[in-house]
Amino acid sequence: MSHPTYLMSRMEREDSHTLAGYEAQGGYKALRKILTDPIPPQSVIETVKDSGLRGRGGAGFPTGLKWSFMPDREKDPRTRYMAVNADESEPGTCKDRVIMREDPHGLVEGCLIAAWAMGLDAVYIYVRGEYRLPYDRVAAAIAEARAAGLVGQDILGSGFSCEIHMHKGAGAYICGEETGLMESLEGKRGHPRPKPPFPAGFGLWGQPTTVNNVETIFNVPFIMDRGAEWFRTMGTEKSPGNFLCGISGHVESPGVYEVPLGMPARQIMDEFAGGVWKGRELKAWIPGGSSTGFLKPDAIDTPMDHDSIKAAGSMFGTGAMIVLDETASVVRSALVLMNFYEHESCGQCSQCREGTQWLAQVFQRLHDGEGREEDLELLRGIANGMAPGKTICALSDAAAIPTHSVLRNFADEIEEYVREGGHEAVMKKRQALAGAAS
């Protein structure tokens, strides 16, 4: 299980979150290199493109390409921003928190390099309101960096200036969607905006804006320090690098582990997380956060990278694996998720506002023993009405996708719930069977 690591390599040290701890481990070297014998912004973007880095926020969009969408400064003199997405609310996802808590300067350095590359005037780090310690750690890192001449005016005497601001959200999954985030940052309800216009043309306060995930930005200093080729020695051709895999649910050792993209999900589950807990069998698993859907055990050998997981009928998402053991109920977990999506739908689009509610109601009645044979078709019909591409943002898809996955992979359990009369009855029957077998 030994493979090269970098993302978590500095976190062992007690003072990893301080400037001293960071610089003692090579921190701000990449920024210094870029600024002292200036590497032109365009070359920085080229290096990020060459590295093949893909966004870690869920969609896996190529980062260098996204940065190149920012308008040419010569032709478009408007103020330009980056918003760092630290809303981290996709159920199962708990990795950005580790970065902010243990290595906040790495994020700050990444922001500064991004600012240089895109000619940004300011960066806003939008942190979900519940993340107090991570927020405080990043805020302290910015203050330390500012005192050391690394943030603010004329950074390291280079003439380059950039402000980094912290911003606190107030709990709302939808504010992780990039345009909902921008509305929220402007002090409004987090209602996603129709696209186009895209953020690079019309973002925060109508100015050119790029939105990137914490882990995405955190990768950048490593790439600039060690090079695109080095980065490509890890992961796969189309999904290079390592990622922080949060693995939760029914495993012996849930945690956040650094693994190369393309490592088979089974290896992550067994070697890092200690396997399915209590010696039990695997029943179902989710590869990349709640919106990516439930897969069967037969897919557990799939490599964890964007293309492979897609081919297996799901999505890499945030790389947050959730494991369900043989005693678990997919119907119940689906109900939990649909309650979540119903709660988090912002309500702008009727397909999502009504659809999430209906899905929750149908899973609720299946759970309560009032399910009907027709509910399979009903669920399919509702989910088909919600996605793909029927709404302003992808929250609607995020509810429809797991629903389809249950219908595709666990329809027999829905039928069992209808037949047996709900959750309690199903659980009782399973326990009786397990008792008889042992």
């Binding site: 159920p91 996802t93 107030a170 002090g187 649910g249 956040v256 709640s290 979540f340």
Partner: protein, 156 residues
């Protein structure tokens, strides 16, 4: 409640971080809730509206969108138990049951002595340390019902 001079001074600094004053509203509402009684009363909303040069209904519209803001009074200690998938798989129901039995409150309500407000919350990003709860803003992870009870007993 009216904004204190200290809060106003804080907000005067806060707004300098943004090109538009309004952007500081949500961080400011957090501070209002922390300093002015643990919830956003109509008077607090009005005071914030005046400061931000908005209509009270606009501030209310924002505050009501975000689950972290309380628009009604809550007990002295806020206990938020995650019920999302990773926590549910590892027994968050039992955590909630222990919390309810210890506090005498029901989810979404306060205890009779007003010492506790108990609520279900959605994913808090503590998935790898499930089940978890947040008490007065502090994360408590890798819980058992016994541990959850102890934590509540330890509160002043």
């Amino acid at each position: 409640m009216a904004l204190t001079d200290a809060l106003k001074a804080e907000f005067d600094e806060l707004v300098t971080h943004y090109p538009e004053r309004r952007a500081a509203l949500i961080p400011a509402l957090h501070r209002c809730q922390e300093e002015l009684g643990g919830w956003l009363s109509p008077e607090t909303i009005e005071a914030a509206a005046e400061y931000f040069e908005l209509e009270p209904v606009e501030v209310y519209g924002v505050a009501s969108f975000y689950p972290m803001f309380f628009l009604k009074p809550v007990g002295q200690h806020v206990v938020s138990v995650c019920r999302n998938i990773s926590c549910d798989l590892r027994g968050s129901d039992e955590i909630m049951a222990a919390v309810c039995s210890k506090t005498g409150a029901r989810p979404g309500g306060s205890s009779e002595d007003n010492r506790f407000y108990v609520e279900h919350v959605e994913c808090q990003g503590g998935c790898a340390n499930a089940p978890m709860m947040v008490v007065d803003g502090k994360y408590h992870e890798d819980l058992t019902p016994e541990r959850a009870t102890e934590i509540l007993e330890g509160l002043s």
